[in-house]
């Protein structure tokens, strides 16, 4: 490369940095929040800090459509298309919504909390754009380390214990993943995910490649909290602050899932030369659904139940990866959006429970009659989590299972049919525990031990979420059109 060429290369590179404007805004904004905290002192102006953070999120949202790269940029490390933009909006929305949880006041008094929320969004932004394994690892660590700290924000023994537990498991899996990545690098000499496929063409022994892929996937499975890498999640969900749990139950998962989809697309080229990861993924998906749903049956603590429910949902989302078609990608994105809204909304409900010192679902007895609108809204959200019409959850499941069926027709592999039948059966299983909430709300007589309070604002927010979930069913095409 001569001097002239290098110069233009550099200019291009610097020019392409402009595409990172939303990310840079997040970084700048997060520093601003920390500075604010330093200047005005801890514990004060929590309201203003939250508003400032929301402002940063809003500015970022405005910048997303302004700086659009279509395709690869920055030396083919990053990739953008309209889907990444929609996902960015989704992440910004989720982060903003989690900041609005009224009961998270204690966390928001500490400036780092908002800073960390912005960081997790930043990590999410990179995760969906990277096509390079090293940068993926860095982004993933950004998300993970922030999550460990966020979970500890519940303070007290329990919170720290959960944070440490999360950290230990997370560090272990990160280590395994890094080991896998090193092996991949050693085998291919490259870190672009598209390069992995070239290994076989060059004629290497695939044993090592299999091992490295497996190690890499273990790391992913941990982040998605699918069986058997799920043991951390119930404890973490239970002990963590609700707003943080809502955030980490959705954002990192969707981000990792999107990256994983592209990753599997590139190794799909290798076909049958590597181990049959599709079957492995199918087994893990089924296991997650069964273990998640069956364990959730016995939970009375709302957050533990949601932990198991999210394990089951991660299993369902894995189906899209097994299928791997364009249709499946769309279905997965739609599912992710709906799931994001549902989860944020349901944790909002749990936030209200905690505000009124309610930990267990059975303590909700009779409250639905006291707050009918609130109860109906949460019932709609739960129906969507089960996947019943007329809710977006049903459309999402319908799309994913349609994609699966189509793949079965194409490949005619028996395990896909099993995945289809047993996966649907899980919808019936999940009915038991999700329905427990409206059951206690409406059917069980009130025990009248508590006198919970409910602000109008809460009712309105949850009703909006319920409405979104309904619209996602009646106007599925709007959502899909927006995503793609």
């Amino acid at each position: 490369m001569n001097q002239q060429g290098f110069h233009s290369y550099l200019t291009n590179l610097i020019g392409e940095f402009a595409y990172l404007l939303p990310e840079l805004t997040l970084i700048g904004g997060s520093l601003l929040v920390v500075l604010f905290d330093l200047i005005y002192g801890r514990g004060k102006q929590a309201q203003i800090k939250t508003i400032l953070t929301l402002f940063v999120l809003a500015v970022t949202a405005m910048l997303v459509p302004m700086m659009k790269a279509e395709g690869y940029y920055l030396n083919e490390i990053l990739f953008q298309d309209s889907t990444t933009h929609s996902l960015k909006y989704l992440f910004l929305f989720i982060a903003g919504a989690s900041l609005l949880y009224p009961n998270s006041k204690r966390q928001s008094e500490t400036g780092e909390y908002q800073f960390l929320v912005l960081m997790i969004v930043l990590g999410g932004f990179f995760l969906i754009q990277v096509r390079n394994l090293l940068l993926f690892y860095v982004a993933l660590e950004l998300v993970s380390i922030t999550s460990y700290v966020l979970i500890s924000f519940a303070f007290g023994r329990k919170g720290f214990e959960a944070g440490i537990k999360y950290l230990l498991f997370g560090a272990m899996s990160s280590g395994l993943m890094l080991y896998g990545l090193s092996l991949i690098y050693g085998l291919t000499g490259g870190l672009e995910i598209s390069q992995i496929a070239e290994v076989y063409i060059q004629g290497y022994d695939t044993t090592w490649l299999n091992l490295s892929l497996l190690l890499f996937m273990v790391g992913i499975f941990f982040k998605l909290s699918v069986v058997p890498f799920h043991i951390w999640s119930p404890d973490v969900y239970q002990a963590g602050p609700t707003s943080a749990v809502a955030l980490i139950s959705v954002l990192p998962k969707i981000a990792v899932l999107v990256f994983f989809f592209h990753f599997t697309q590139s190794i799909a080229v290798l076909g049958y030369n590597i181990f049959d990861w599709k079957q492995v993924l199918s087994a893990i998906a089924l296991l997650s659904m069964f273990v998640g749903n069956l364990s959730a049956l016995r939970q009375d603590n709302a957050k533990r139940m949601m932990a198991y429910s999210s394990i089951a949902h991660a299993g369902t989302l894995l189906i899209a990866i097994v299928v791997g078609s364009d249709f499946a990608y769309e279905a997965m994105l739609f599912y992710a959006v709906v799931y994001g809204v549902m989860n944020i909304a349901l944790f909002y409900f749990i936030d209200w429970m905690e505000e009124n010192d309610i930990q267990n679902i059975s303590e909700l007895a009779g409250l639905g009659k006291q707050f009918p609108l609130w109860g109906v809204a949460v019932t709609i959200i739960l129906l969507s989590l089960i996947g019943l019409p007329p809710t977006g959850g049903f459309s999402a499941k319908l799309l994913i299972f349609s994609a699966l069926w189509e793949e079965y027709i194409k490949l005619d592999q028996a395990y896909l049919l099993w995945l289809f039948a047993l996966g649907l059966l899980n919808a019936a299983l999940s009915l038991f525990y999700y329905l427990k909430v409206p059951f206690y709300l409406f059917v069980k007589p009130s025990v009248a031990k508590l006198s919970p309070q409910l602000s109008i604002r809460r009712s309105i927010y949850l009703s909006i979420a319920a409405l979104v979930v309904l619209v996602a069913f009646f106007k599925t095409d709007w959502f899909l059109g927006w995503m793609l």
Binding site: E330, V443, T476, L480
Partner: protein, 539 residues
């Protein structure tokens, strides 16, 4: 003008009423009842208008014989390489469902009157009741499988709450059991629905995947390499048929998946029992016709014997179980299972008589079972008890009530002159015909059906004798037993009159369904030959 969209009105009037109720303050209990009554009365009027405008002479079965059709694109999804997916708002009636619409309107109206005594959270109750009405009507008239499924599922939640909140002692258990059973059934249907949608397109050569049931009936619309098409994988189509049959059999319910029904009935409040037995069960039977048989006609003959067997099993087994019941409501619940067995037997016969009988049975049982559950409600309201052994000689104390029970029981056991007799008679003729001429059923099945009738007479008469005749005695002296009041007369009389009216003039109803039933039977025969040849041609 209103006739153009009469079906939409039928579907959405109750929902509209529910919308109005939302804005009525909670403490105006009477107003909710009046709104509900008005809405269901409008439903009945609309369905009568529908009946009046219905062309009874329209022959054939399929898209061309549908009347009052409304079709509108609803959701259109572009799904990449695979084409697009179209969900339509498509409602229509023909001879198969017009009577079901009428039945729904009648039973729902009676149900509202029967709900007059509801005290507990009246607003919630009638809201759910209205939503239930909408979904039941929608389910009967939907011609788009997705729409059908939507209404089918949407029935469950109101029902769950109606049993779960306003039910008896073990209502929590019963409502959950109801929900789980029906949901498992609907998952079977959902699986086939997804498969069908991916296999069927709007027109040959198009890439628009449709849920239109009428399109699913034409083999030309199937993609050549689709899983549920007529390609190599023939077994899949058979399994799809079996899955649909299982799904609807749970709803019907057929033995051995009937166990949710007695629990649900026993725990449900009287009006909900009326609705459950009166119309909800019929959706299972209707689903056999409209969906399972219509889309997979080639298995109708192959499975006729098995379906007939399950029908007979239900008739005999449920009748025997009913005989052993000590709870009057449970007895009637089992008699429902037994009577729905006739629907399966009539369907399996594949004859015009048998199928007319099955259709007629659905209507007739809807009216009669509603009557019976109201009669049980009468005694339960007064005493909070319905053990057969706790009562004796009621006839002397409550003569009018006893007389109506006599009428109800006679109608239920199939005495000539009542509608139940015509229905079961036609089914049995069809079964004999099928056994003798087409050999799709065995002769013993028809005979067993006859035995079922005798068993039915036995348990009804025995219960009658134990409770109403003999010396007056009740377990608890403090029970106050006044005779029927005005409101009860208002529910019982129309139903009893209908049971007798249609028993004497069955043509009033049969005329509406006759041409379609003829068309349906012909369609099953001719289309199954075509499909079979396509399948064997594919191999």
């Amino acid at each position: 003008m209103i006739l153009d969209h009469i079906l939409s009105w039928l579907i959405f009037v109750p929902l509209l009423a529910a919308g109005i109720m939302l804005f009525v303050p909670k403490d105006k209990a009477q107003l909710f009842k009046i709104i509900a009554l008005a809405a269901t009365a409008v439903e009945l009027m609309l369905s009568l208008v529908l009946l009046a405008g219905f062309d009874k002479g329209l022959e054939g079965y399929g898209a061309s014989s549908l009347q009052f059709a409304e079709k509108m694109d609803w959701i259109s999804l572009n799904i990449g390489s695979f084409g697009s997916l179209l969900i339509q708002y498509y409602v229509a009636v023909d001879g198969l469902n017009i009577l079901m619409v009428l039945l729904t309107a009648i039973v729902m109206l009676i149900g509202v009157i029967s709900s007059w005594s509801i005290q507990k959270s009246v607003k919630g109750y009638f809201l759910l009741y209205m939503v239930l009405t909408t979904s039941v009507v929608g389910c009967f008239v939907a011609m788009d499988l997705f729409l059908f499924f939507l209404f089918f599922e949407f029935m469950l939640l109101p029902m769950y709450f109606l049993i779960g909140i306003w039910g008896g002692k073990r209502r929590e258990y019963a409502s959950m059991k109801f929900y789980i059973y029906t949901l498992v059934g609907s998952l079977f249907i959902l699986m086939v629905m997804i498969g069908l949608n991916l296999s069927v397109v709007e027109a040959p050569g198009s890439m628009v995947h449709t849920f239109d049931i009428m399109k699913m009936m034409d083999p030309a619309n199937y993609l050549p390499d689709a899983l549920l098409g007529f390609g190599a994988a023939t077994d899949i189509r058979m399994w799809a048929f079996v899955f649909l049959m299982i799904g609807f059999a749970i709803k019907l319910p057929a033995v051995p998946v009937h166990t949710w029904l007695p629990d649900a009935h026993v725990e449900a409040p009287t009006p909900i029992s009326v609705v459950l037995a009166g119309v909800l069960l019929k959706i299972g039977g209707y689903g056999f016709y409209r969906i399972a048989y219509s889309i997979f006609p080639e298995y109708a003959t192959d499975f006729a014997w098995v379906i007939g067997l399950f029908g007979v099993l239900a008739i005999i087994y449920a009748a025997l179980v009913a005989m052993a019941q000590s709870d009057l409501k449970k007895l009637i619940a089992y008699s429902s299972v037994s009577h729905m067995g006739f629907v399966m037997l009539g369907l399996a016969s594949l004859t015009i008589e048998g199928n007319s009988g099955a259709m007629f049975q659905m209507f007739s049982h809807g009216v009669i079972s509603a009557l019976l559950f109201i009669l049980v409600g009468v005694i339960y309201d007064r005493t909070g008890n319905r053990e057969i052994g706790n009562f004796s000689g009621l006839a002397s104390k409550m003569p009018y009530f006893s007389a109506t029970v006599l009428v109800g029981f006679f109608a239920a056991l199939g005495l000539p002159g009542f509608s139940g007799f015509i229905a079961e008679f036609l089914v049995l003729i069809g079964a004999f015909d099928a056994a003798v001429n087409d050999a799709v059923l065995s002769t013993w099945m028809a005979i067993a059906g006859l035995v079922g009738l005798i068993l039915g007479a036995a348990y009804f008469l025995w219960a009658l004798q134990r409770m109403f005749f003999g010396k007056f005695w009740i377990k608890d002296e403090s029970w106050n037993l006044p005779d029927l009041d005005k409101r009860e007369w208002f529910m019982i009389l129309p139903l009893a009159v209908l049971a007798i009216l249609f028993g004497i003039f069955p043509g009033l109803l049969l005329d509406y369904s006759n041409e379609t039933i003829i068309g349906f039977v012909e369609y099953i025969q001719s289309q199954s030959e075509i499909n079979v040849s396509l399948i064997s041609g594919g191999n």
